[in-house]
Amino acid sequence: MSKLTESINRIQSLEELADGKTAIHCIHPMAKLITTIFFLVVVISFDKYSISGLIPFFTYPILLMAFGEIPYRSVLTRLIVALPFSFFAGLSNPFFDRETALILLGIPVSWGILSFLSIILKTVLTVMAVLILIATTSMDKLAYQMIRIKIPKIFVMQIMLTYRYLTLLIKEASDMITAYHLRSSRQKGIRLAHAGTFMGQLLLRSFERAEKVYVAMKCRGFNGEYHFASSERMRRGDYLYGLFVCTAFLLMRGINLSRIVGSIFV
């Protein structure tokens, strides 16, 4: 049950953040979508041992969070949830790749540790970038951009409908679980033996709801075709933002800023 309410809270808090009015929120969603994807590609294009080259890329999420007024805590707590898979997949690296790569302050560091750290950095960066995108851009705006880049309308409509009914169905499921537990206080969780009836009920309710939604669409003249407004145009500022940010990423990809800064001091 807590998992259900927690996920509702998560969606709602991200939605609230996306309602903000900061400069970052005002940037055209297309510009943000493109820069985010570009950021992801550039970050994961680094080779598996890169660490110092990746660090300057933290500038992007940090500045965006600051300008976009996104609380650090909310992004960080979500990061922890997303980390384990990469963490465990990367954990093997120090075991298999034990050859020493360098000696840092007298401690030998193996290639495996470097590549493990690199995986963690990449995970943190990519997860942050996506969370920042969704925390500064509402789902409906993103959906409009999907249509713009020619993702089929039926598919986009489907994403929007799933998103729309998500919280509603989670609430319904959570009510059902509460009702179940109130009448079976001794056992923990729902028995697998009850999975059929439990999920089946939820399924039938969902079918009923879908039927009503369809009728509601029909009543408002729906005839199988989905129409969307043409989305807002990108202004000069949006182009400039996209160009500036992408160029910065390319520069950071080409020039290892950490090493240059470091060489001044060492």
């Binding site: 996506v130 729309r164 989670i170 089946g200």
Partner: protein, 339 residues
Amino acid sequence: MHMADALITPAVGGVMMAVSAGAIGYSVKKVKEELDDKKVPLMGVMGAFVFAGQMINFTIPATGSSGHIGGGLLLAALLGPYAAFLVISAVLVIQALFFADGGLLALGCNIFNLGFFACFIAYPFIYKQIINKSFTPKRITIGAIIAVIAGLQLGAFSVVLQTLISGITELPFASFALLMQPIHLAIGLIEGIATAAVLCFVLKSSPTLLDGNVTVEGESTNMRKKTVTILLIAALIIGGFVSWFASGYPDGLEWSMERVAGTAELEAEGSTYHAAAGIQENTAFLPDYGFKDGGESSALAGTSVSGMIGGGITLSVACLAGFIITRFRKKVKCNECQS
């Protein structure tokens, strides 16, 4: 088993994205051809259903194990494979955006691993063959369980391959596969049972909802049975081969055990302790291995030390800038409020 961005290369992500996009495009075309405008609202709500359903865990009393329904096969059995594939894809898009479950670039991988195999392999070649147009609880149960397990096995294997080809992790093929496949056998079993239970419930309460248009292919029942048998034998052979291959690599097993021990420790002691312990452990291995070449490695170390220090400074400057901006904006806001 959601793939993360950090574990793949842009090439792997791009190729899988293209494959999945192609499958989505084809499915959209197929769904449109059905000319059933009821389907899209139904698909939308079903996406939300799967989303909620995957958060409800069912427990097996006295074993401590639990699992939830799988999405792909259940949807394929209710909506047909094309609509089901679109629903799963949409769910994965939302999971990637809001829950950081699987990355945005890895979306293609995830759609392929979790959607494609369930909808386009497990459903038509296993579930449908076993059901064979006679919807009885027994057939549905057997069909759903085998199909879900097969779909998950293929998906897990695909995760292994994608990780391997990307080469970001050092996981050897055998040990990774040996870890992934059995785990997903267990997960698949529970998922399969739950899925079968839901399908049987639907069969009892409103059988018209089951996707009944199983096309007659002029095959005899024998032929179908043969297909299933062949598939099962193939699965066994592959499974056997993988485990034999794995057993030839004691390193892999050793690693698995180390990993399992590591996980247990992590759960017991908390993450910070383990992280510290892990570093200690790892560095302790190092003396066994010699340096490649003294001069080269120290030169590399030199530049890297400057890289580390520089990285640290860059990061601090960025953080400081972020902090100042946040502070400044708060002040501006307060002033605005006062005036």
